[in-house]
Symmetry: C2
Subunit: 147 residues, 2 copies
DNA sequence: ACCAATGCAACAGAAAAGGTTACATTTGAG
DNA sequence: CTCAAATGTAACCTTTTCTGTTGCATTGGT
């Protein structure tokens, strides 16, 4: 697959599911459509399940489906479920000698976390139901972002 | 270094430069403060130079400095200069058999590009001058010089 | 009982990124 | 003029990260 494949795969799959919420899909089916491997699908969807976005059923007629309405799942839910952290840096590693240096690192860190939070806020304004063709925005007056 | 190191390194360095705009810094100095390698610094700052954010001078007393006021450099400038693409996917690779599948891929792609654009818009609201302690926003009026 | 699904661990392979070395080029300083 | 100090780049190694894959235990409907 390509860059940002986890998020892409998740959105792709959830988009499919939003189209036919009743249908139970196996990881093999999904992998087929997404052009990847069933285990990869289970890995990604497993995180979504842990976050309560989808449910999985073992056994013979098992498979995956949405845990709730597509309009109730925002892209922020997906992003956070996958544990993505595109902007924010991890905790410090090397303690800088200089105090000024340390302060600057803190500043950079804070700015990046600030940006990441803005990203999450933006993601929260689009739901899975908005992905497959229908172009309504999520809830409340969260219209238009691009100032 | 750690995750998102290029953006982190760029912000760190520009933050330093914003503090003492007159001072010319060598890649060795910068690498020292950032805990990395001079060549890595030159790689990253080279992209910023190509984008016109910093200038570099060869030769004996050479080094790097801001190309314009720190208030005139937004994080979006930095992000784009580095060629980062955190959200958006690359162009398609495998043409899906099904037309519905193709349409969905397009949809997912469009949504992700939409998100990325929102991210860039957000980044454009913070300048390098906001990084090292001063917490003003870029605000409309802050656009001074572009020499 | 059987078969088809998830769950999970382990490993291989590719790809991306940082780090490092080497060297050509440029340029100010003595 | 010569030398030292800096950038500019290419090449390579190593580490890390991620996907893909195999294998197997477990679960649960038919």
């Amino acid at each position: 697959m390509r860059r940002n494949s986890r998020l892409s795969l998740a959105l792709h799959t959830l988009g499919h599911m939003a189209g036919e919420p009743e249908r139970i899909r196996t990881s093999a089916d999904i992998a087929d459509h997404a052009g990847t491997n069933p285990v990869v699908v289970r890995r990604v969807l497993g995180k979504l399940r842990d976050a309560g976005l989808v449910t999985s059923e073992k056994g013979h007629a098992g498979g995956w489906r949405l845990a709730r309405s597509a309009t109730g799942i925002t892209l922020a839910d997906v992003y956070l479920a996958l544990g993505e952290s595109l902007i924010a840096t991890d905790a410090e590693e090397a303690e800088p000698d200089c105090a000024v240096e340390h302060a600057l690192q803190q500043e950079v860190s804070m700015v990046m976390q600030d940006i990441e939070q803005s990203l999450i806020d933006r993601l929260a304004r689009t739901t899975v139901a908005d992905v497959p063709g229908r172009r309504e925005r999520a809830a409340s007056g969260a219209m238009d972002n691009r100032n």
